[in-house]
């Protein structure tokens, strides 16, 4: 099962294998001459690195299902072909055992391998460039302590012309801005810590910023949301209160959602469940709180726009009537007749932004596929939403989603049976 969430910048990725081989060769020569690692590893540094590697969610992409830790080999399907993640264990031949801390930092920071070869931007170096040298060194020190695995990197399988890595130069010119995070002195230390984590290691913008036809995302549209290519989940805007903008959320609810996967306002499923499961649940309360403070500040409240529908009114009212019948019979037992849910385990649907936002992809998929929030230390035995793909027709899915998007003061728009049908084939793995 593909668990990686960062396959979204789908023309981004780790590096072409020929170059990696070259880089490793060079790196191993370099390292032999300067084996300057401390004799006794600094445990606190390594623990810090392990923590930061969790924040960066390295494991989600660099460990394959049933594979060895950090040995890579995870397939990342993209619109441009399939990329395979690389081995970042300290094996000298096939991993990064021959690298130095300088080379590791330079690669994270510039998106170039030690020999100058260009990384595919599926590796979120556009975010990791913001990571400090100190933090990069800690992650490197930790990675050097995991069990080395001899496993050669699998070559990428990219379609012409995307197999030409010089195209990355164009992408970089348009979308990559190198540079460590620079604190905003008008903001608190906590806010800056949150911004550093969200924009840097957290690489949230990889999904929560719309991606364009060139596979890039524009900084001016940072965190405004977008459909995740290949996965067909919609990563909501973190800036608009109509989507996942957190302006009217309490800090506690934001922190609960990030750290446990559930909250009084909603729960995470799909790709965001991956992030909470593999990364965010391990963060300290202070770091989660800092992220919450920063994320809340991103919200740009706007007056709610009048709901506009692309369906004729008569059809909509039929949909709503059918939808209410289905809802009352099959959904209300958990989500309540007024959509209030039984939070945090049965999420509220009334005033739930992810139900009403412009894109209806997520609510349709939740009805079709159901889902579990991630099992975390804060919510180890979560409650699952049943899938209705087998039991509801396209018309019925459209009706019930239309109902929950428009009932109880929700301001979403109706959806059509065609919308529902098109997501039946959405990938689940």
């Amino acid at each position: 099962m593909t668990r990686c969430m960062a396959f979204r910048p789908q023309w981004k990725s780790a590096l072409s294998m020929a170059t990696l081989a070259g880089a490793l060769l060079l790196a191993s020569f370099a390292a032999r001459s300067e084996d300057a690692k401390p004799a006794a590893p600094d445990m606190s540094l390594i623990e810090k690195g392990q923590y930061l590697a969790r924040v960066g969610d390295c494991i989600a992409c660099h460990t394959a299902p049933e594979g060895k830790l950090f040995a890579g080999g995870l397939a990342m399907p993209t619109p441009f072909g399939t990329l395979y993640t690389s081995n970042i264990t300290p094996d000298r031949e096939t991993g990064i055992g021959g690298w130095t801390a300088d080379q590791f930092y330079a690669t994270m920071h510039t998106g170039r391998f030690p020999d100058g070869g260009l990384l595919y931007p599926a590796m979120p170096f556009g975010s990791y460039t913001k990571v400090t040298r100190q933090d990069s060194d800690a992650i490197f020190a930790y990675l050097q302590t995991v069990p080395p695995v001899r496993q050669a990197n699998r070559p990428h399988d990219l379609k012409f012309p995307f197999n030409n890595r010089s195209l990355i130069l164009g992408w970089r010119t348009l979308f990559f801005k190198e540079g460590e995070y620079s604190p905003d002195l008008n903001q608190s230390a906590e806010w800056n810590r949150g911004a550093y984590l969200v924009e840097g290691l957290g690489h949230c913008s990889m999904c929560h910023t719309a991606i364009n036809a060139l596979g890039g995302s524009s900084e001016s549209q940072a965190f405004q949301g977008g459909l995740i290519p290949m996965q067909n989940w919609y990563a909501p805007s973190l800036t608009s209160d109509k989507e996942a903008g957190l302006g009217d959320w309490s800090l506690k609810d934001i922190a609960d959602l990030l750290k446990t996967g559930v909250s009084a306002r909603g729960a995470v499923y799909g790709p965001m469940a991956d992030v909470v499961y593999n990364s965010l649940q391990y963060l300290t309360d202070a770091d989660v709180q800092a992220m919450a403070v920063y994320l809340k500040s991103l919200a740009q409240p706007r007056p709610p726009a009048a709901a506009t529908s692309n369906l004729p009114g008569f059809e909509s009212s039929l949909l709503v009537a059918l939808g209410k019948t289905i809802y009352d019979n099959q959904c209300a037992v958990c989500h309540g007749p007024q959509g209030l849910g039984k939070p945090p385990h049965f999420p509220p649907l009334a005033n739930n932004q992810s139900i009403q936002m412009g894109s209806a992809v997520n609510p349709i998929r939740m009805v079709l596929n159901g889902g579990y929030p991630p099992g975390t230390s804060g919510d180890p035995v979560p409650y699952g939403m049943p899938p209705f793909a087998q039991s509801l027709s396209d018309d019925e899915v459209a009706a019930v989603v239309t109902y929950i998007r428009t009932a109880w003061g929700n301001r979403g728009t109706p959806v059509s049976a065609a919308d529902a049908n098109s997501l039946r084939s959405a990938p689940l793995d």
């Binding site: 209030l340 039984k342 159901g370 889902g371 099992g375 979560p382 699952g384 209705f388 793995d429």
Partner: protein, 235 residues
């Protein structure tokens, strides 16, 4: 003075009223496994008894170790069925075990045996394979591991009753073609590899037509000596 007390009293009552209003606890989800596994119900039935859909198996009463092995295999992707892989991808192992134990403990009745839609000869071939195997083909009797009553054995050999012929033949086919695998030595892959397509059809038809035995519980661990080692079943 009196007026002041009046206001104090009014405020207290108001405060009390407000407090009562807010103190009503929001309704909470039931703290039960039954509520947690509702995601399984549309395909597997409220107690794991199975549904009308011929490809979704009964879970109830299968040994917890078997169910846990399957949940783990769906979680990692070793067993490939995207709707299951998706549901289980981010659930921890401890929880998967609890889900397995929950369904293992359920004892809904078996469905009525299916009317076999195959000839008498085919059904006899099925019975022969299930109860005697085919030594010449290297096929042990199903009952040698799954038990004479075909209710399985603790901790990880599943019962074969209450499943439809379509599900059984799909799974045996998946073992034969190597799309379903288990921990090595992968005994079911070895057995299924010795079956022909006609054998699969015969076994599936015979199993689906079995009436319920008096006791649906799997046999205790070690009841049967397995004909060869099986990676999923500790000996």
């Amino acid at each position: 003075m009196e007026r002041r007390w009046f206001y104090v009293a009014l405020l207290s009552v108001g405060g009390l009223g407000l407090r009562v209003g807010f103190a009503q606890p929001a309704e909470e989800a039931p703290d039960t496994m039954e509520a947690r596994v509702m995601a399984c119900v549309p395909c597997h039935g409220a107690k794991g008894e199975g549904t009308d859909n011929a490809y979704f198996p009964r879970l109830a009463g299968k040994p917890a170790g078997y169910l846990a092995n399957q949940l783990h295999a769906f979680h990692t992707g070793r067993r490939h069925y995207p709707p299951m892989n998706y549901l289980l991808a981010y659930l921890p192992e401890d929880y998967l075990k609890q889900i397995a134990e929950y369904f293992a403990a359920q004892r809904p009745p078996l469905p009525a045996p299916a009317d076999p839609a195959v000839s008498k000869d085919v059904l006899e071939r099925g019975e022969s394979l299930v109860t005697h195997g085919d030594a010449a083909a290297g096929v042990p009797a199903c009952s040698s591991c799954h038990g004479p009553h075909l209710t399985g054995m603790e901790p990880a050999i599943p019962g074969l009753l209450g499943l439809r012929a379509t599900y059984i033949s799909a799974q045996l086919g998946a073992w034969r073609y190597g799309t379903r695998t288990a921990a090595g030595p992968d005994c079911m892959q070895i057995v299924a590899g010795h079956l022909t397509e006609d054998d699969v059809k015969a076994v599936a038809a015979f199993l689906a037509a079995r009436p319920a035995p008096p006791d649906l519980a799997p046999a205790p661990q070690g009841t049967f000596i397995l004909p060869f080692a099986c990676g999923s079943e500790p000996q």
